[in-house]
């Protein structure tokens, strides 16, 4: 009965919204700004890259010409590419779990601070607000061999020195900066999630005799499902596309040990003027990001939908 009334009502509303003789043109006009921007900045570049991947640039004749799948076979079989894939995965494995764990711990801590929570929130969000390329310069100085603050402090205690010159440590240094940068967003996502945890659930758990840890495990963590999945997807996406601090701090070195896919893309496409090759790498990055997010949503999506907050 009520359903029928509402249906009738919405039919009336739709009639009221319709302007006679326009046949939905208004709708298209209203959608146009968003659609045009989406097309210009998402669809067109994607198509352009896809097309470029099938073209080669001949420096002698200064002309483009179609090369079929030559770019693909050349890039996908090159040792540089395989190494870059491994480096990118290594970077992702080094950064994402640490970022999520640290982000969660810090968010819970900030959430429980009685005074000055705003200050802490700002402090942890600052790296997000600043330009990574610029702050990477500062980080490069800090990691500077022998005279940098890190070698002067940690280097004196632990047998780790000259991070950026070491094929093992350079990727770790770049990861540390990546984590530092990504933490801000992650914390904000978790804080938003935490603010959605109903207080009465904590009250109920306290009365049921749950310890602080049990309260976290049985109440907070289930309610953070959507926030966790969101943070995971965003951090993974950013890690798979890492570029800024690599460019500024190591330029892909030493010996290619920090040459990630995005850096290789830049090197190929811009530095070596191999636009076709760069386009292939770009498509690969796109596919890898899609694949990762797809898997994550497939496996963790239940937590996203559960939204265990009610």
């Amino acid at each position: 009965m009520i359903g029928a009334v509402t249906a009738e009502r919405s039919k009336q509303d739709r009639r009221l919204l319709r302007i006679p003789g326009t046949d939905g043109v208004i709708g298209w006009i209203l959608c146009a700004p968003a659609a045009i921007l989406l097309g210009l900045f998402m669809i067109v570049p994607l198509v352009a890259v896809s097309v470029l991947a099938f073209f080669g640039w001949d420096p002698l004749t200064q002309t483009d010409h179609a090369v079929g799948f030559a770019n693909f076979s050349r890039i996908l079989t090159s040792p540089d590419f395989r190494s870059a894939v491994l480096r990118t995965l290594e970077y992702t494995v080094l950064t994402v779990p640490v970022t999520l764990l640290l982000g969660l711990v810090i968010a819970v801590a900030v959430n429980n601070v009685r005074h000055g929570a705003m200050v802490w929130r700002t402090v942890f969000f600052l790296p997000v607000a600043s330009t990574l390329a610029a702050t990477s310069v500062a980080w490069r100085f800090m990691f500077y061999p022998h005279t940098g603050i890190i070698d002067q402090t940690i280097g004196r205690v632990l047998p780790v020195q000259g991070w950026l010159q070491s094929t093992d440590l350079a990727i770790v240094a770049v990861s540390i900066v990546g984590i530092w940068q990504a933490l801000g967003t992650t914390i904000v996502i978790f804080l938003a999630g935490l603010s959605g945890v109903p207080r009465h659930l904590h009250d109920a758990a306290a009365l049921d005799g749950a310890t602080a840890w049990s309260r976290f495990w049985h109440v907070t963590w289930p309610a953070l499902g959507p926030a966790t999945v969101l943070a995971l997807v965003i951090d993974t996406r950013d890690s798979l596309r890492v570029f800024d601090q690599v460019q500024v701090m190591t330029e892909g070195g030493p010996l290619g040990s920090t040459t990630t896919l995005s850096y290789l893309l830049w090197q190929r496409g811009i530095h070596y003027n191999d636009l076709g090759g760069g386009a292939v790498i770009d498509l690969v990055i796109l596919l890898v990001v899609f694949a990762f997010i797809g898997i994550q949503l497939r496996t963790a999506g239940r937590r996203l939908n559960d939204g265990a907050t009610r």
Binding site: H200, A206, D208, S214, R310
Partner: protein, 371 residues
Amino acid sequence: MTAAARVSQPSASMTPQADQVAAFECRSVSKRFPGGTLALDDVTLRGEPGQIVVLVGPSGCGKTTLLRCLAGLDSVTAGEIHLQGRDAAGVQPHLRGVAMVFQNYALYPNKTVAQNIAFPLRMSRVPRRERDARAREMAEILKIGHLLDRRPRQLSGGQKQRVGIGRALVRRPAIVAMDEPLSNLDAQLRVEMRAEIRALQQRLGMTVVYVTHDQTEALSLADQIVVMNGGAIEQAGSAEEAFNTPATPFVAGFLGAMNLVSATGEAIPLPRWLSADDRDVVATIGVRPEHLIAGRPPEGRWSVSGRVISSELLGTERLVAIRVGHNGEQSLRIRVPAELPLSSELYVWAQDEHLHAFDGDGKRLNGEGVR
């Protein structure tokens, strides 16, 4: 009400006795929130074992705060709370023997009904087999035995609240605090659940502290009704007592919507039974709408007349409002039979014993000899 007067002597009997240890006792409890709001103002209250104590009052009167202080979810600023004769200061919520049922159920959304009910037992490390059995038994009592594997989001409001009650009762608490447990349910279900809560309470012999803003619910459930206003107790006593002899105009107005008119001025007569002293201090006269009789009054009865300003059909009766008083600035509501023809001007009168009087401080005046 001094502490020395009570000797610790647990009794199986449910009737309150002077020497019995109170289920709970608040002694001059005050609670001030960090913002400065005084939520509880010198509250002294005693609940006997096996009683349903109903805290009732308008929003923000402090009833929920008092409940949370009893449960240990909030701390008191001043005063003492004793539970089963022991000072509860600094005792963790789960060690107080107080369980709670929440208005919005507060069920763990990711746990099944069985897991929700068994959760307090799990937290106190009861072996799995035993807690499963007890959760099942509790669910059977609450008629939700067939829902054990469901999750909260698959349940109706009434079913959710049964789970909430089950979770509260499963560890056999001495006191169950219920914070407006039926407010989110529809009217018919509310009446049913009310009766069930009463039956359950008598079957298990527990003490219930029940918060509500619904006066019908309060009157029907209460062994002891506690009317609160502005953080303080206006009146505590049996439901009949609070309804029949309200201690303050607030209680009179809150329970049963008594008509309250200012006694100052010529137009409103005073009850005959008021003593000479009381006649000097009386400020407010109260009479319930159902106790007013329309028509010419018999000689010597308390009566007023006024112009009809509104009339509302309630079914077999009609709720009529009339303007009375010196300049007609006050109004009285009266219940008259629906078929009674209404004139624009109405005489109403009341029996002496149906009149209530209060002084300027809101204290009840009882007169002498009349009752």
